[in-house]
């Protein structure tokens, strides 16, 4: 097995699941014990609660907007002052009973409605990208690790190539060249395209050590096919790794989507996304701080919650593995 030092290091950085690490090949903690340890962790529960709130917000967006009275695309010229260049009337960017989070300067769109609908976009893209990345990462990692040889070499080369790419600049280049329709689907594809090698590399390493174990041998001896061994014997043993890696990947994708939208190559206006809202608030930050504070706070808390959650789950899973 050959690996470049940098890979070794990145693996260490990704939580010490280095290839051949004895701890990673021990049986994983049971789901129930994980859940119990999780419930005792207050920070983790708080983060999970916030994520749930955002997901609920995204799901019930049309309802919430009906409650608040303004849609995400409705202009409200009565809420802004045309004499001040469209600055919102009233305190904190026009916060009040009419507009709970105030309005956008200029056209008076309701910020609450845009946050709620923006949550839809951000969550959909981040979760879909995570799902696609994980699927690709797990499948390619399993294949490379299990079959080895030439298959492994080809997949490993592709992964190295993708990881050597300056991903952000390239995503921007690709997205700016592509037509604007169906931007959300494109975002998912582009993000996943550059994202899967990071999970695949770790899955590959663990698969390589798992396939040496006795239960795989015995499955082989009893005539199981490769597919059966991969999906029935090896995959279940990788579940805690996959859960940890995917939870830790979500905040990255939330951030990437927001960043790309911020740079103008993400979600196309007038569809709201948090990153894009922050981008349009740049020219107003000095006079209307509420305009960037609301989406900024929501975005920051979402990324933070996923990061903390991933971190906690990782710790719980690791200590669980240590005990088992």
């Amino acid at each position: 097995m050959t690996f470049t030092p940098t890979e070794l290091e990145a693996e260490g950085a990704a939580g010490g699941e280095a290839t051949g690490d004895p701890a990673s090949s021990s049986p994983p903690a049971s789901g129930r014990r994980l859940a119990r340890a999780f419930m005792r962790d207050r920070a983790a529960v708080a983060c999970a609660a916030y994520i749930l709130v955002v997901i609920l917000m995204a799901l019930t967006a049309p309802l919430l907007v009906k409650l608040s009275g303004y849609g995400p695309l409705e202009f409200d010229q009565a809420a802004v002052d045309p004499n001040l260049g469209g600055l919102p009337l009233g305190w904190g960017g026009g916060i009040g009973t009419d507009h709970w989070f105030g309005v956008e300067p200029g056209n008076g769109r309701d910020i609450f409605a845009r946050i709620v609908y923006g949550a839809r976009v951000s969550m959909t893209i981040a979760l879909l990208a995570t799902a696609l990345t994980s699927t690709l990462g797990v499948v390619f990692g399993l294949i490379a690790g299990y079959f080895g040889g030439r298959t492994d070499m080809v997949i490993s080369r592709i992964m190295e190539f993708l990881m050597a790419f300056p991903a952000l600049i390239f995503m921007i280049a690709v997205l700016s060249a592509l037509p604007a329709e169906n931007r959300q689907a494109l975002l998912v594809v582009v993000i996943s395209f550059f994202g899967w090698p990071y999970l695949a590399r770790i899955v590959r390493g663990q698969t390589m050590s798992l396939k040496q174990r006795e239960f795989v041998e015995s499955a082989k001896a009893s005539g199981a096919s490769s597919a059966q061994i991969i999906f029935k014997e090896i995959l279940p043993n990788l579940s805690s790794t996959i859960i940890v890696m995917t939870t830790l990947a979500v905040p990255g994708y939330v951030g990437t989507e927001a960043g790309l939208s911020f740079l103008g190559v993400g979600v196309v206006p007038p569809t709201p996304s948090w990153g894009q809202m922050i981008a349009s608030s740049v020219s107003w930050y000095a006079v209307d701080p509420a305009y960037f504070l609301f989406p900024g706070a929501f975005l920051f808390l979402l990324v933070l919650s996923f990061t903390v959650l991933g971190d906690r789950i990782k710790k719980i899973a690791e200590s669980g593995e240590g005990r088992a």
Binding site: T6, A164, A286
Partner: protein, 332 residues
């Protein structure tokens, strides 16, 4: 060693070639016809044809790609006869918008990007490693938990949100810093420093958090190694144990991963430069995206890829030099 080097060089060349091909294919296949764009509103089909011929856009894909590639190494000539323009190597073509050579445009902006990157790198390395060391020394205590909490926050805050918040707080509300404006170092060093302070902070905070975690984890792990226990058992003073036995293996990976991160940054900190209006390579890329200026986007993409790939290779070589455990070829 020579074989290893040759292998790496070859791999590097392949990656760079693929990056070139990839970008070229995407721009060739997907983007709207640049000739129409350049020509503007009052355009005749003849004028479009003329522009296409001048830019070589009427040739088949492979021929165009070949001209582009060879332009990188030996330069190329646009047009023919009297109005031919020479573009010396490394030729990245001409901007569709300003008609300037892309290579010059990038070179002009590189100093700003380098200033941003170097300052941020110094900041995050110092902050990250020292915070990580403190955290490791006080493992499990309040300081450690506090720093760990901070790192999670630092990792999570999107840099444009931080940039706007800092700007609002420090410039607008408190008035501690002047509004950022470009002043050359020779003119007013203090103003220059103040200008770059916010971009440095914003750019370094995420990396500083990651480095803190890495340093902490590495140091704690190293302190549990047998040779550290041996050093302690034979009665070395704690200071010596740290300096001679613990720090070097703990920090080696940091130094090497730093090389990669730094190379990635040199290619332009897009978001930071855009938010603060710094005229660096990243801003150039961001501006070109809105104007759909393909040669410039391609130039920056290639530069960034080049830096990352070279950085990767330098890191690998360094690693082999610093860490005796990684010996080439012995990893069977």
């Amino acid at each position: 060693m020579i074989r290893f080097l040759a292998n790496r060089l070859l791999g590097m060349a392949v990656v760079l070639f693929l990056v070139c091909l990839f970008t070229y294919v995407i721009f060739f296949l997907l983007s709207p016809d640049p000739a129409v764009q350049i020509c503007g509103k009052n355009c005749t089909p003849e004028a479009i044809d003329q522009i296409r011929a001048n830019l070589g856009l009427d040739e088949p894909f492979l021929a165009q790609f070949w001209t582009f590639l060879s332009g990188l190494f030996v330069g190329r000539t646009y047009g023919t006869g009297a109005n031919a323009i020479d573009c010396v190597a490394p030729c990245l073509g001409y901007s569709f918008q300003s008609s300037q050579p892309v290579t010059d445009m990038i070179l002009q902006r590189l100093p700003v990007s380098a200033t941003v990157a170097v300052g941020a790198a110094v900041l995050w390395l110092l902050a990250g490693v020292s915070a990580g060391l403190v955290s490791a020394v006080r493992e499990g205590k309040f300081t450690d938990r506090f720093i760990t909490g901070l790192t999670l926050t630092g990792m999570s805050v999107p840099n444009y949100v931080l940039a706007l918040s800092l700007q609002f707080l420090l410039v607008v509300t408190l008035g501690w810093l002047p509004f950022p404006q470009a002043v050359p170092f020779s003119e007013d060093p203090l103003q220059w420093f103040m200008n770059f302070l916010m971009p440095w902070i914003v750019l370094s905070i995420g990396a500083a958090a990651v480095y803190t975690r890495l340093t902490r984890a590495n140091v704690i792990e190293t302190l549990q190694e047998n040779y550290v226990r041996t050093a302690r058992a034979k009665g070395l003073s704690p200071g010596l144990v740290w300096r001679r036995h613990a720090l070097r293996p703990a920090l080696t990976p940091i130094v090497t991963i730093f090389g990669m991160d730094f190379a990635g940054l040199l290619g332009g900190a897009l978001i930071t430069e855009t938010v603060f209006g710094l005229n660096g390579v990243g801003k150039l890329a961001a501006d070109s995206i809105t104007k759909n200026d393909q040669p410039v986007i391609m130039g920056v993409t290639l530069l960034a890829a080049f830096l990352v790939v070279v950085g990767n290779m330098v890191v690998d070589l360094l690693y082999t030099a610093i860490d005796p455990r990684v010996r080439v070829g012995s990893a069977a």
